[in-house]
Symmetry: C2
Subunit: 142 residues, 2 copies
DNA sequence: ATAGGGTCCGTACCATGGTACGGAGTCAAG
DNA sequence: CTTGACTCCGTACCATGGTACGGACCCTAT
C-alpha cells in the first residue's frame, strides 16, 4: 500500500485541521486509530477522505455525534436511516438559511437607516425590534 | 408607572427566555439591573425591548460580547462604529448563508443519490467528498 | 399571621468543539 | 549514535451560552 505513508501531521494538513483535532476525533470515535504498526501510526487516503467528510458534514450543520451516526450508518448500509437524517438536516438547513436571510435583511435595514439619518442616536434597539407592544407588552413569547 | 410592573418571570416570559437567562444577561452587563426598589426588582417595557433586541441580534449572529458593544454604542451614539460592526456582521452573514446554501446542495445531492440507487451502500463519504484523488492521494497538503 | 410561590444570589454544572501542556518514546538524518 | 523533530497519551484548560441548585429572603392572598 503506497498511500498509507502519512504521519498524523500530514493527515491533519491534508484535511486542513490541526493534529490535536485529529486526535480529538479519534477519541470521539469518528476516525479509526490504525492499530497496525507498533509505535507511530500511519495514515492513508481513506483517512483523509473520512476527515474531509467530517468537516463537510460539520459545515452542513451536523454535530459530531450525528456525524458519528452517519459514519456508522455508512458501514451498515442503512439507507432509510441515512435518508431520514439527511432530510431532517436539510429542513434544519433550510430554516437556518431563512432565519439568517431574514436577520441579514433586518441588519441591512438597520445599517442603511443608521447611515441615512445624520442626527439621531441611530436607535439600533428599535431598529431590530419595532415598538410593537408599547405598554401592554408581554403578548406572545412564541 | 404602569409599564414597570413586571417581575423577572414576567419579563422573561415576555421575551420568550428563561428567568436564568435574564439573570445571566444581567451578569454579563447586557441588561440593566433595576436598582430601584429594595427587595424585588420590577421591570418595564424598555427591558422587554432590550431583551428582545438581544435575541434578535443573536439571531443575526452577533455574540453576546458584540451585543454588549452594540448596546454601549447605542448609548454613545457612535454611529461609525455601529456601522462598522453591522457591515462586518453583514459580510459574515453573507458568507455563512453561502456556505449553508452550498452545504444544503451537497446534502441534497447525497440524499437524492442515496434515494436513487437501490443496491449500493449509499457511500455518504464519497457523496460529500468526491474521489478527487483516487489512488495517488495525499500529494500536496498545501 | 402564616403559607406558598416568587425572587435573589453565588456557585456549580452542562454541552459543544476543540486547544494546550508535559513527559516519554520513536524515528530518521547527519 | 546522537540530536532534534515528531508522535503518543492523559489530563487540563478554553470559550460560548446558558441551566441547575440551594438557602435566604420577600410579598401577597387568605
Amino acid at each position: 500500500m503506497i498511500s498509507g505513508a502519512m504521519t498524523i501531521a500530514r493527515l491533519a494538513a491534508a484535511a486542513g485541521v490541526g493534529v490535536e483535532t485529529v486526535r480529538y476525533y479519534q477519541r470521539r470515535g469518528l476516525l479509526a486509530v490504525p492499530a497496525s504498526g507498533g509505535a507511530v501510526r500511519r495514515y492513508g487516503a481513506a483517512d483523509v477522505r473520512q476527515l474531509r467528510f467530517i468537516r463537510s458534514a460539520q459545515a452542513a450543520g451536523f454535530t459530531l455525534d450525528e456525524i458519528g451516526e452517519l459514519l456508522a450508518l455508512d458501514a451498515t448500509h442503512d439507507r432509510p436511516r441515512v435518508l431520514a437524517l439527511a432530510t431532517l438536516r436539510l429542513a434544519a438547513l433550510d430554516s437556518k438559511i431563512a432565519e439568517l436571510t431574514e436577520a441579514r435583511a433586518a441588519l441591512a435595514r438597520l445599517a442603511s437607516s443608521c447611515a441615512g439619518g445624520a442626527a439621531g442616536p441611530c436607535p439600533i434597539i428599535e431598529a431590530f425590534d419595532p415598538p410593537a407592544t408599547p405598554s401592554r407588552a408581554a403578548g406572545t413569547p412564541e
